[in-house]
Structures are given as C-alpha cells and as structure tokens.
Symmetry: C2
Subunit: 199 residues, 2 copies
Amino acid sequence: MAATPRQIAEEELGSSAQRDRRRRIIDATIALASKGGFEAVQMRAVAERADVALGTLYRYFPSKIHLLVSGLGAQLERALDRMRRAPIPGDTRGDRMLYVLSRITRGMQRDPHLTEAMTRAFMFADTSAAAEVDLVARQIEELFTLALGKEEPSEEDKAVARVIGDVWLSNLVAWVTRRASATDVTNRLELTVRLLMRD
Amino acid sequence: MAATPRQIAEEELGSSAQRDRRRRIIDATIALASKGGFEAVQMRAVAERADVALGTLYRYFPSKIHLLVSGLGAQLERALDRMRRAPIPGDTRGDRMLYVLSRITRGMQRDPHLTEAMTRAFMFADTSAAAEVDLVARQIEELFTLALGKEEPSEEDKAVARVIGDVWLSNLVAWVTRRASATDVTNRLELTVRLLMRD
DNA sequence: CACGTAACTGAAACACGTTCTATTATCGGC
DNA sequence: GCCGATAATAGAACGTGTTTCAGTTACGTG
C-alpha cells in the first residue's frame, strides 16, 4: 500500500541531522543567489553545494520558489529580531519610518543579486507557495508597523504600515529590474511617507 | 558575413502580414492565458494557435515574459482609451479614484486566469523586458492619474496616483495567489484612498 | 521578370525545474 | 543488536522555455 509520505512537515524537523541539512540548503541558496541572482540558483547547484541529493532538496522544499521565499523569510526574521531589540531613533512616526526604510533599502542595495533573486521569487510565487509568501508578507507588515515605534499601533497605524510596505515592494521590483535607481526609490519612499503622515 | 538580424524592431512592422501575425500571436496568448493562466501559455501552444512557427514567435517576442507583458500593455491601452473617452463620475478626487479602482478590480476579477498570467509575468520580468514593463508601469500611472479627473495634475496628484498604483499592484499579486479575497482588496484600496486623500 | 535578402518554417537540440526509480543508510521501537 | 519504516542517494527521465539550423518562401529592387 502506498502511503502519502509527500511533503516534509513544517519546521518540525526531527533529528539534528535534518535541521542541519535544512540549514545547509538555505545557506547554499543564499550563497548562490548572492553570487548570481535568481538564475544562478539552480536546483542541481543548490543540492550539490548543500551536499544533498536532488531528491532530498525537493523533499525539504517542493520548488525553487518555496526555497527562495523561505530564504527570504529567514533573512527577514533576522532583520526583525535586530529591529525588535534596539529602539528605533526618531522623534516622529515619520522620522522613524524613514530611518527604517533607509536602513532596509541600504541593506538590499548591499547585495543586489540576492535581492533580485528573492524579490522575483516572492513576486512570482503561485498559490502552491501561498503559505510561505504569506509569512513574508506578514513579516513586512510587522517590520513597518514596528517602524512606527508605537507600543500599541492603532488600526490606522497598521493601514499606513501596509501601504508603505506595498509601495516599498513595488519600488523594490522596479529597482531590481533597473527601471528605478536607488535615488528614485528613496525619493518615492520619502514622498509616500510625507503623503501618509502629516504630523 | 553574418549580419545581425536579431530582434524585430519596435512596433515598426512593415507589411500588413506582419502586423497580422503579431496580432494573431497576442490573441492566441490572451486566449490561452484566459483559459489556463500563466502555465497554459506555452510557447509551442501559442505558436500553433497563432499559426506561426516557433522560431517566428521568438522573432516577434524574445521570451514568454515579453509576450505576456506586451499583451498586458495592449489590454491596458484599451482600458486607457475607454477611460480617456468618457468623463469619470464622482464629485471628489477620492470618489473618482474609487470609481476607477472598482471598475478595474471588477474587470480583473472577471478573468482570473488572464489576470494571473499577466500579473505574474509583469512581476517576474527581468531587466531584458524592462522596456515592456516600464511601458506598463507608465500606463498604470496614467490610469490612476486620469482617475483623479484633473486637467493638470499637480506633482502631489501624480505622487498620489503612483502610490495607489503600487498598492493596487501589491493587492493584485495577493489576490492572484489567493492570499487576499476580492473583498480584502476592495477594503484595502478604499482605506488607502482615505489615507491619501482627505478632501 | 530575375535576383538577392530577409522572413518564415519545421524540426532537432539544449537547459533547467521537476519527477521517478532503484538502492542504500538511518532511526525508533522491540 | 535486529526489524520495519522512513529518509537519503545517485542517476535517469520528462516537460517546457529557448536556441539553432537547414531548407523554403515572400518581398522589394534593379
């Protein structure tokens, strides 16, 4: 009788060897993406670099998109941790938001290929990766909600954070395809913040 | 001596036979996308349906992404034409914007597969399709600038239009991956308009 | 009308994401 | 320590986007 062994469960990886494999896979993905962007993240190359068989790679991540979006999730989680730890400088909501925006934007400019790979994966994802994508979307929301620097964000605060997240994503896509320069992105984000927060 | 015959020039298609081929290709693309979304737009299928050889298809559109984004551009151009013709109802900027938003949103809901195919192609495009993508981006900007219903949009008007376009795109992506329902999208867009236009 | 060039065709070939198969290693429970 | 089940491995195989190429056709020009 063929059971249904498909799909590895959540983050519930039993043995430490499995946790380690997973980490190696994500590391390999990020290294390859960082060097050559989306197209350089080839499943055979990831498997080889992570020292797992191709089939194993697919058991951990059912597609290239899952893989890259999961990597993005991992990176964002780290960014969020840093963000949660240190208080955000700035006197007004707007100042704090601009601070966070410029920090993140600089971060992504530091590794254009990685940014390109992850952004495109995130945007291209289909419904099969909706869970992973949704996680990232919530992380982005939290990031910009934190940026407001309030203990208890109001509904309006959350809405503002979401709009800024949306604008940020659009600009990220434009930057990644070189339709917008870093300066363009910065200007548009500042303008957006000004429009949304008149305090 | 091998010349460099690569790449078909802009819209400068000489003969009417060529214009016709191009139209057949776009039509085939839209028909296939409409029926089965991004994955159903297979280059061999498009070629067959448009009654051209695969090589010819690639001569007109250098990739599947170019093809779909060009199709999106064509559709948007039609939408813009309609929009330019009839005046937009509504007393305030916000009302007119909401009118346009709901019209477009309904339009996309009417053909989910087509929307999915085009949205994902637009978002996934790399630098090689930057020209086509940029055209679409400008069309979207114009659409929402028109929606403000002013003869001479101010700089702020344009900025607002761009922000709304960005939010709309993000929500489109979320809807396409079924992370957001149509109602979610509508609500978020209304909220955004409210935040941006307090008149 | 004949010619030369560029466009089109049909088919094969290639690349990379994904799936499948046969085999071997590992792990949890006895 | 042994057994059955689950996971991992190596490698082949498949599908679809993309490229290439040899032969054919259509078109503008002398």
